[in-house]
Symmetry: C2
Subunit: 441 residues, 2 copies
Amino acid sequence: MYFSKSFIPILKNNPSEAKIKSHQLMLRTGMIKQSSSGIYSWLPLGFKVMKKIEKIVREEQDRIGAQEILMPTIQSSDIWKESGRYEDYGEEMLRIKDRQNREMLYGPTNEELVTEIFRSSTKSYKSLPQLLYHIQWKFRDELRPRFGIMRCREFYMKDAYSFDISDEEALFSYNKFFLSYLKTFKRLELSAIPMAADTGPIGGNLSHEFIILADTGESKIYTDKRIFDVEYEKTTLEKKSLENLRNKYDKFYSVTDDKFNKSDFENSVNENNRLVTKGIEVGHIFYFGDKYSKPMKASVDYQGKKIFVKMGSYGVGVSRLVGAIIEAKYKDKDEIMKWPLSVSPFDCAVIPLVNKNDDTNLLKAIKIYEYMKSKNIDVIIDDTEENFSSKIKKFNLLGVPYQIMIGKKSENDLIEFKEIGSDSKYLKIDKIIELISNKKK
Amino acid sequence: MYFSKSFIPILKNNPSEAKIKSHQLMLRTGMIKQSSSGIYSWLPLGFKVMKKIEKIVREEQDRIGAQEILMPTIQSSDIWKESGRYEDYGEEMLRIKDRQNREMLYGPTNEELVTEIFRSSTKSYKSLPQLLYHIQWKFRDELRPRFGIMRCREFYMKDAYSFDISDEEALFSYNKFFLSYLKTFKRLELSAIPMAADTGPIGGNLSHEFIILADTGESKIYTDKRIFDVEYEKTTLEKKSLENLRNKYDKFYSVTDDKFNKSDFENSVNENNRLVTKGIEVGHIFYFGDKYSKPMKASVDYQGKKIFVKMGSYGVGVSRLVGAIIEAKYKDKDEIMKWPLSVSPFDCAVIPLVNKNDDTNLLKAIKIYEYMKSKNIDVIIDDTEENFSSKIKKFNLLGVPYQIMIGKKSENDLIEFKEIGSDSKYLKIDKIIELISNKKK
């Protein structure tokens, strides 16, 4: 991508309406643009990051055997009346009347609709377990949307649903998602900790939030530091192995504000291990048994009886993760962002010092750019006439993790190469390509 | 994928509410499920096909240098009042009041929003041309939704927008999309013909619909047969080459009902070449100059003046294409569907004859299945105990283009292999894999 042809509208300064760093950086680097209160358009840079996050989320869902579907954004109120949540949900639900005056709504979540799909499709316990997920836009009509895409109204979410014959099997499904979430966040280079959580309007009696640490987080958290050292890499998708994993986490006190109890915390966590800080919720999983299947009569035949299926639901905020990664990775004091390579909008930036009357550097840069593209490196080249130092400043915000500088000293075939936040090295182009390709694996 | 674990709810018979073959087949093979009038959920089989179509559409947009963004589904009425379309659009626009009583709407199209994004981001003519597209859910509140996803209310669409400095440059952008659409539909194994069309509520004075022939189509078309022989394969993305292509098409009379004129048709088309038939619209492109940029003040600086940018818009119905392909490929008399390999939910089906007390065939089938998967063939295996002939019947509807049958005669290493609609061959497994892999390229 040539920067001069790209649609990346950069702002010179932090926009005054943005109070947290993800909101600031996303507006400043033209990742998003607000279209109305709490509603954003995703411009090419932000879109690319979000799509890469989506892909990782999807792959980890597929890996545990979940099947992807896609439910519509607009739902009928009928099924919400069946479950009893239509009145309960309050003003956050965007209610709509269509031209025939039918009551519709923009789905804030999909327990009802997926239960309806399940009950009309599945009759026998032999088809269980069934794990279904979709990645779709949701709408919650927040009274005061703020913090950019972190607390907005229209947001992109992966929500999965499990259907099982018994509590025991349902717990097995729950634990599969528990593990898959740990792996998902790890691939995004986030260290997310699972915390016992309230179930809120979803319901049920078992729930975990996955929280990443960030000073600007909205949730206050109280935890035992040692929870960060729990190892899950060797856990397999076997029932026993997953139970062991859950036990390892459950040993450590780890809760959000809602569930905090001072004496419990002090009794169960040695002073040296106490960590009180802030975090951002990036995932939330629930087990709620037959809360929806019973009123909506979603049952399967089992040994001559009709059994209401046991269900759980599992959410990851895909659009929110874009902001969460920035909150975790952006050093706003130095104005340096570094995207994890797995979700970076580009692998490498080629930044030539371009003089008006001398195109030597630009031509050299284009040659490098073309060569890297031919080797499957996704490169952006800054072909503009902007001065060199403001180019560097701009790219430090754009956060492409690798930079190639073609400046004054560029004479032989050793190229100035830099990982953002580290010192420059002088390497041959093939060495640079090898280095980036290895990191991409 | 094991059929027994899949979420593919098959119906035994054609559902009575479905009047056209795409609607029948999609319900029967569990590709979609209606959730309310004109609103559908996409189940795994349908979802996979739609995603593959989306990928092809995306690749062909990227190839002409269009950049992908993502605009929200919910828009403010303000920008529609600026363009003057808020009142005009009528009842097909789903109008919404949020909790603060603000007038919102579910976007039926995005000319206004993309113009707003452009005007606030781009100041100089040097950034032109700019081609932006997104693939997003739209809503049109049809009075009488029908024909399944062919005329529904919530639908998935690619819409692109071009911004240029002059009519001449804008026409160049228009022609790039013209070519890219021909290539897109070709990759979907559809022969789509461009036809001069009315511009309707989008506006402007130049427009083409891309129509595929189908008996069940909603549009009546009048065309010169020779238009099917126009060659576009050698056309490049140069201005001159694209103009030549347009001229080659413009030579042949080819219109829909709206533009039909009997004497024009008879005068310009030799009797032998006249074709009067029905078709389905799968794409629609428009050039409308400054229709939106002028009232919305989207201008760029050029030689000391402010010039309103010249715009066009370019739509492809991604969800509709799923139905259109079925209309074109499904032989409902024989109950045989064959998906183009490029969008088929699976590359190959492995269908063993399974006896209750003898798992020889099933084990052999599983071995073949695993081996093919290891060679990157996407396979579905029917591991159920359903009888062999109803399995075959089912898979003829599912439309996976290649089938491997493990039946009675299965004794040596020659495997019964079939392309749907052709005769069986007996081949070694590696030969089959080679054959499918070559077709996938």
